[in-house]
Symmetry: C2
Subunit: 561 residues, 2 copies
């Protein structure tokens, strides 16, 4: 994570200096029997599916959602706070676990760096988690690409199903940032039907979304079979099951589907499993990992991608609805720096005190807090501390939260570990044990698709209305007619603004949300609503992290942050 506090150690140096316990010990602390621990080296494990099936049946734990204000280049620290809160819960004597998404190699070698927390709030072994981990994303990519190969192979060998090569919507996938693969032509030479195609980054694939929503290996296989790969020349939808691809895809994913167990620097159990993009997909870790954690721990802290308008809404309306989960409390992560950016301050000027800008930018925080209330969730604000924060700025945030009746806790877990987040942990326990949560999704499943979109736009984004492009409206009508109207919608929108204009920070109102296109993810079980341009294959920056990452003479990974 990018934080500007002075520190003598980088993330990877802190992680390497940690003293992780054998993973069997971490498992034993949650009463996971040794025979259920499928170890990958001393500090990573997968949990046997038989055990997972038993464990997830009993949901004893309380689920805590960590979400955030709309992200800015200043950085908020959502993963770091999830780790710090988990550690702090453990520190105050609670049986806690955290649930995170697995990092993607794309951002790791791109601009963002690793995604295993930061400072003294990290999951370890940080380098192994960031690089390949237990291979889940490669398995997901292979399953995705096997289906793609079987589609083109079917067309090559006579095309019995009469697939229209121009209407194949299934793309290939790779877990890297590779701009040149966004738009390609395949099948040139004497190698089949040449057609336009492209690669998505693996985390943006429907297989990833399915993987994260599946409740068992059987459910996974059925969902894979329901994938729509395109249309026939007579415009009938073609399913992966028609190509007999779903069995082999499930075989490729069988081991990956077992949740991964690691630990934080402070030995809190961490289930790091799955990692769908929060734009094109729902942006939270696997249902199986979350449910397993809930079966084993009393407090389970999990994060959802991007800001609460995207990540939390989808966590609640898609994941919790499908899995029957009900969070007991929510944490909104904010920083003074980010609030100042929402209040109009440029990144270069963030070091200077600016209370007025904090107050102005807090409009963003306020709306996210109000929104979470609409789902029936109690809220606490975690103000992730930077040394440049002034007392007056922090007080301004506190005052705004007080107006809403919401507590705010200054957190120093990045610099101090669990002791820096114990106040937050106490408040989270109070909220979760208070029994005030009355979770309900924002919209009922029976609501028509277009109304679902409008409801989210108005209630969550503060928009005046939606503007559905004619082609998108036709697709919505066809989906309703074909019986897909009961599905939740998965909004694909810029994460930087409540509007579809990434430059409109703060809390814009009265805007119109353009609905550009609609995609059916029948296997995942949602309808993707594209608002504006959504990139599903990032590019590398001019100076990528890949140029700095390497191996030192002692065989240690360097340059990961």
């Amino acid at each position: 994570m990018n934080q500007i506090q002075p520190t003598p150690l980088t993330d990877i140096e802190i992680a390497r200096a940690a003293h992780p316990k054998p993973i069997e010990q971490i498992a034993a602390a949650l009463d996971i029997p040794a025979e259920a621990v499928y170890r990958h080296g001393p500090h990573k494990a997968k949990l046997a599916m038989d055990f997972v099936t038993t464990a997830r049946a009993e949901r004893r734990g309380k689920l805590i959602l960590v979400t955030a204000i709309s992200p800015t280049p200043a950085g908020e620290g959502k993963t770091t706070t999830t780790v710090g809160l988990g550690d702090a819960l453990q520190r105050i004597g609670k049986r806690a676990a955290i649930c995170l998404r697995e990092p993607s190699l794309g951002p790791c070698f791109g601009a963002k760096g690793g995604a295993a927390g930061g400072g003294w709030a990290q999951v370890v072994p940080m380098d192994e988690i960031n690089l390949h981990f237990t291979g889940d994303f490669h398995a997901i990519g292979a399953a995705n690409n096997l289906l793609a190969a079987m589609i083109d192979n079917h067309v090559y060998w006579g095309n019995l199903i009469d697939i229209d090569p121009r209407r194949v919507t299934w793309k290939r996938a790779m877990d890297l940032n590779d701009r040149a693969l966004r738009q390609i032509v395949v099948g040139l030479g004497n190698n089949g039907a040449a057609r336009e195609d492209g690669f998505d980054i693996t985390v943006a694939s429907e297989v990833m979304a399915i993987f994260c929503l599946a409740t068992s290996l059987d459910d996974l296989k059925e969902r894979l079979g329901r994938i729509v790969i395109g249309e026939t020349k007579s415009r009938r939808r073609v399913l992966a099951s028609e190509l007999n691809a779903h069995g082999a895809m499930a075989a490729l994913l069988k081991d990956a589907l077992q949740p991964n167990l690691v630990q934080t620097i402070e030995h809190t159990p961490a289930f790091v499993h799955g990692g769908p993009f929060a734009n094109i997909a729902h942006g939270c870790n696997t249902v199986l990992a979350t449910e397993t954690a809930l079966g084993l721990a009393d407090y389970v802290v999990t994060e959802a991608g991007f800001g609460a308008d995207l990540g939390a809404e989808k966590f609640l309306d898609i994941k919790c609805r499908m899995a029957g989960l009900a969070p007991a409390a929510s944490v909104v992560v904010a920083t003074v720096r980010a609030l100042k950016m929402h209040g109009g301050v440029a990144k270069a000027d963030l070091a200077a005190e600016n209370v007025a800008a904090v107050r102005a930018g807090a409009a963003n925080l306020r709306r996210h807090i109000v929104n979470l209330g609409k789902f029936g969730l109690p809220v606490v604000v975690a103000l992730n501390h930077f040394t440049s924060d002034t007392a007056a700025e922090v007080e301004a945030v506190r005052a705004i939260c007080a107006e809403l009746g919401v507590a705010v806790h200054l957190c120093r877990h990045w610099a101090e570990g669990s002791i820096g987040a114990t106040d937050l942990a106490e408040e989270v326990v109070r909220l979760a044990d208070g029994g005030t949560a009355r979770f309900k999704p924002l919209y009922p499943s029976e609501m028509p698709l277009t109304d679902k979109i409008r409801t989210i736009a108005r209630e969550i984004y503060g928009a005046h209305d939606i503007d559905v492009a004619p082609a998108a409206a036709r697709k919505l009508a066809v989906l309703e007619a074909d019986g897909f109207g009961y599905l939740p919608v998965c909004m694909a929108k810029t994460q930087y603004s409540f509007s579809t204009d990434p430059g409109r920070l703060g809390a814009p109102e009265g805007h119109v949300v353009p609905v550009r296109d609609i995609r059916l993810s029948a296997g995942a079980g949602f309808v993707v609503v594209l608002c504006g341009d959504i990139l599903t294959m990032p590019g590398l920056p001019r100076h990528s992290a890949a140029e700095r990452i390497g191996v030192d003479a002692g065989g240690h990974i360097i340059g990961l942050s």
Copy 2:
């Protein structure tokens, strides 16, 4: 493996019924300390690099090469014989280990099926070894593709090095059979310089070849840096190190480089690591795995890809030369069925006795035996038994081998396990302990490249001469002038014939070997010589194994063979 003997159990059923020991026990039998065992579940492990560095320094063991006659659709069973021989050596009381290549997902989902042996001579867990295993091939693909992304990204951001996009020779890689990716155009839209590109199957990539020849992580990184990715507009070779890609590539490969340890059904230690194609690369497992095995066992059995003209020649002239290894004996695997095909019998007629065809086809076997003698290796023939073999046919093989002073042993390890190969094992021990091996490469490093090619063509392929295309001759001259003349050559030729015509079975003579093109693999450290068309990305067949592979209700993989 395809074998027509009647058996009540499939390969995967036999493998699943096996009782593998905990991998720590297998390791302990070779005196590998527990702390060096990086376990992947109960039955797979990687070995810590520190231990590998120590173990490989002392090469106590005798190296046995298993190679074969030119392959036919009848199947020979080279991997199966390697496993069976290893088990039989253990059965007769020897401290033995085997070294195999890792299976690729491409053939696994294509026509060939798995590659972990067959019948009662298999490595286990067969399903896990065939599907992902410890993730090495995905790591190799990711390293390959990161370099590709960094090339296009460099061009996109101003192209300081002045790379000529039309002269980028570095291709992308995927561990699947995907015909549609052979020839593609990337960078369409507003995503950089559109150019022709293609995917190779991962096993055909230079990264795979480098991985298998590297002697340490440092050596790996240096070799990765030496990769030639293409040319500048002024025709200067561009290296991966100029893009600062080799450090991150090494970071991606760090864990993969640790040799994998598994076991056979009969608990013989098996090092299954690396898997380069035997056409475009050298076709044998990693130097690190072979050397580690030699440091721990008294007899190490390893296989080389395809027939002895390709696999054994490259094993000896490339791998053994580079690593300073000297085999003590060699085994040539043959079957009566395959010899009959070399003698002109069609596949449909193989069940009928045909002694004359066996005698005619034995010309192929004879030349391979003579060739191995040119490398100074003692030879024994393993006749892999099929129930359709008649006594007269077997006797014909025996008589031909007797003429050459070579023993032949009828092997039944596929049906019977180790007891079916004890005679072979006794003979191998006799040969290896006899001290008659006088290994020498076929040609000296100082020999000019063109003469190296001609030497192989005449001495090994029985050709009259070579015919070097003008463009290939120019490339050879440039490579000599630029100081690459000392490198060994890596012949890329059809595996089905001593000639470049896959239809010319038996032992063709007096033919001319056309040299179509030349490629420098500067990182791997050899010059690839393309004779005829070489496919580096296979396609799926009309009815692929992928359509049959799946997961049953109990969560077990089915359909793998």
